[in-house]
């Protein structure tokens, strides 16, 4: 895109700057639209699984429900509790929202269609997702209220615990792909399964990691069955209890942007990203972005499915699963994967 703006007669610096801003808008605006639509999809899927109708009043099939909700919270008053820490109380939702958008910079939408094609893409994702915890902790603390504070403690412990095993799972993928660059990781998956299937997930050694990663991403985004941060029977609405209007909406948007990001990561790391599922020439006629979106939507459906059907964990069970089950398994898998690669690729 930089060349395009250079052809319009700009100097390199200006062209680069304008191209980057355009790239950011090209990702962020459709992402916001997608978030609005998947909130609707989420509600429709739960409704269908509970034999209800779901949102069906605003617009055809209730398609405009999320926009109506957005408009409603936009027009509401922002209430700041009198004993809250004003600055941090307002910054916290902004952090959550911004961090949820930042990670998309390195996601490859097609071969070469990525805002920042950096060598350390996966590390960047880890770095950014480890920041998400601050929005939650700060909102819980600055609300100066007991339930949000408990919820913030829970959320941060949960996110940090599962980030550890996610890190080890990613190492397994990186060892196989021999790169931290997400585009490179997708390219390596071409014909990975017996020369036919484009996915790491069909590798017997990596499939367990794909399952672990899916469950960990549920925990990382605090979706059911790990949504103890907003367990309404114990904590009212968790860290969002004191929030209203736009500051609440920012949490909401950030949360769903994170869910979409985790679905995308599932697709990119284990199921071939923008590659078609099968390495067969006619399938490449379909643009890669459509394959990627199909995979993202599939994982999002799985997320909703889990939310509609699985009961909530107890907190100690959650911690046990993270530290006593996932961490040892993912550690052993790092060992297994590197041992396998030493035997086959590097000997």
């Amino acid at each position: 895109m930089t060349e395009f703006f250079q052809n319009l007669g700009m100097s390199y610096e200006w062209a680069w700057g304008v191209a980057t801003v355009c790239g950011i808008l090209l990702i962020a605006l459709p992402l916001m639209l997608a978030v609005a639509m998947i909130i609707y999809a989420d509600r429709k899927i739960w409704a269908a699984m509970a034999l209800r109708r779901g949102p069906n009043v605003v617009g055809p099939f209730g398609l405009l429900q999320s926009f109506a909700d957005g408009l409603k919270v936009f027009l509401q008053e922002t209430i700041i509790p009198s004993s809250a820490n004003r600055g941090l109380f307002l910054i916290a939702p902004i952090i959550t929202f911004t961090v949820a958008l930042m990670a998309w910079a390195v996601i490859p939408f097609n071969s070469g269609a990525v805002l920042a094609d950096i060598n350390v893409g996966l590390l960047y994702i880890l770095a950014v997702s480890s920041l998400g915890v601050y929005g939650v902790i700060l909102s819980g603390w600055s609300s100066n209220s007991k339930y949000p504070f408990f919820s913030a403690m829970r959320a941060s412990a949960q996110m940090i615990s599962y980030e550890v095993s996610i890190g080890f799972i990613l190492i397994g993928v990186v060892l196989f792909a021999d790169s931290f660059n997400l585009n490179e990781i997708v390219r390596v998956q071409q014909g990975h399964g017996l020369g036919i299937v484009n996915a790491f997930g069909f590798n017997l050694l990596l499939f367990p990691l794909a399952v672990l990663f899916f469950i960990s991403s549920l925990a990382e985004t605090a979706r059911t069955p790990f949504d103890l941060t907003e367990a309404e029977s114990e904590l009212v609405a968790g860290y969002q209890t004191e929030y209203s209007s736009m500051s609440f909406a920012l949490f909401w948007l950030g949360e769903y942007a994170n869910v979409l990001l985790m679905c995308t990561l599932n697709a990119v790391l284990f199921w071939g990203g923008w590659l078609p599922p099968i390495d067969w020439a006619p399938l490449y006629a379909v643009p890669g972005i459509i394959w990627l979106f199909a995979k993202i939507l599939f994982f999002f459906f799985a997320f909703s499915w889990v939310k509609a059907t699985v009961p909530r964990y107890r907190y100690d069970q959650l911690m046990r699963l993270g530290w006593k089950v996932f961490l040892p398994i993912s550690l052993i898998w790092v060992f297994l994967v590197s041992g396998y690669l030493m035997l086959t690729r590097y000997s």
Partner: protein
């Protein structure tokens, strides 16, 4: 040009937020300023071409260490009057540390100007085309493997020490044995009885 602007931006914010860590009245605000300082230091690393170090700085310091700081600081019950009262008492010690640090800085800059530090004489010259991670990995696992493993052992010992210090056996708590629960079958857990009228049953 962009790099120059970015450098001064990152450097200014790093120094300003480092100063704010000390000046902020509220300790939680201090930690937040510290995080901002870490961030901008990571930006400086990026400008220096060390993207791996920059990412590690964010993952380790911002993502883990600062969260722990924040936890501890948030849990503390802070009396601001008491904090300010301690200021005069600790002033001599603080001033001493500050003077030592300043003197070291002067020495370091002096040694640099005198040509005592020669960055070109690196032990292992690095290839220009390989990425950061590969370069660090190659050095770490070949030339510095013993140092690397020694660092690992020191960390392991520290971890065991921390666990040994904080672990305590609590009596009288009822734990959940999930494996035992999963192993249990209906015929072990239930029993079918047919008590006669008026006899009741033993539990």
């Amino acid at each position: 040009m962009i790099q120059l602007i970015a450098f001064y931006l990152f450097a200014t914010i790093t120094i300003a937020s480092a100063a704010m860590v000390i000046f902020a009245r509220n300790p939680v605000h201090s930690v937040m300023w510290l995080i901002l300082a870490f961030f901008n230091a990571a930006g400086l690393m990026l400008l220096a071409g060390a993207e791996f170090i920059a990412m590690l700085l964010v993952i380790v310091y911002v993502g883990a260490v600062a969260v722990l700081f924040l936890f501890v600081v948030m849990m503390l019950d802070i009396d601001f009057a008491e904090l300010r009262a301690g200021f005069v008492r600790y002033l001599p010690l603080g001033a001493l540390v500050a003077i030592i640090l300043a003197a070291e800085l002067v020495f370091a800059v002096g040694a640099w100007n005198a040509g005592g530090v020669d960055l070109a004489a690196r032990v292992a010259p690095v290839a220009e085309d390989a990425s950061n991670i590969q370069q660090i990995g190659e050095l770490l696992y070949t030339r510095y493997i013993f140092l690397f493993e020694a660092a690992g052992i020191v960390l392991l010992v520290a971890m065991i020490g921390a666990i040994a210090l904080t672990h305590r056996q609590r009596g009288g708590t009822r734990g959940q044995n999930i494996a035992a629960q999963n192993r249990r079958r209906p015929h072990e857990a239930t029993r079918l009885v047919d008590p006669g009228v008026g006899q009741g049953m033993e539990l």
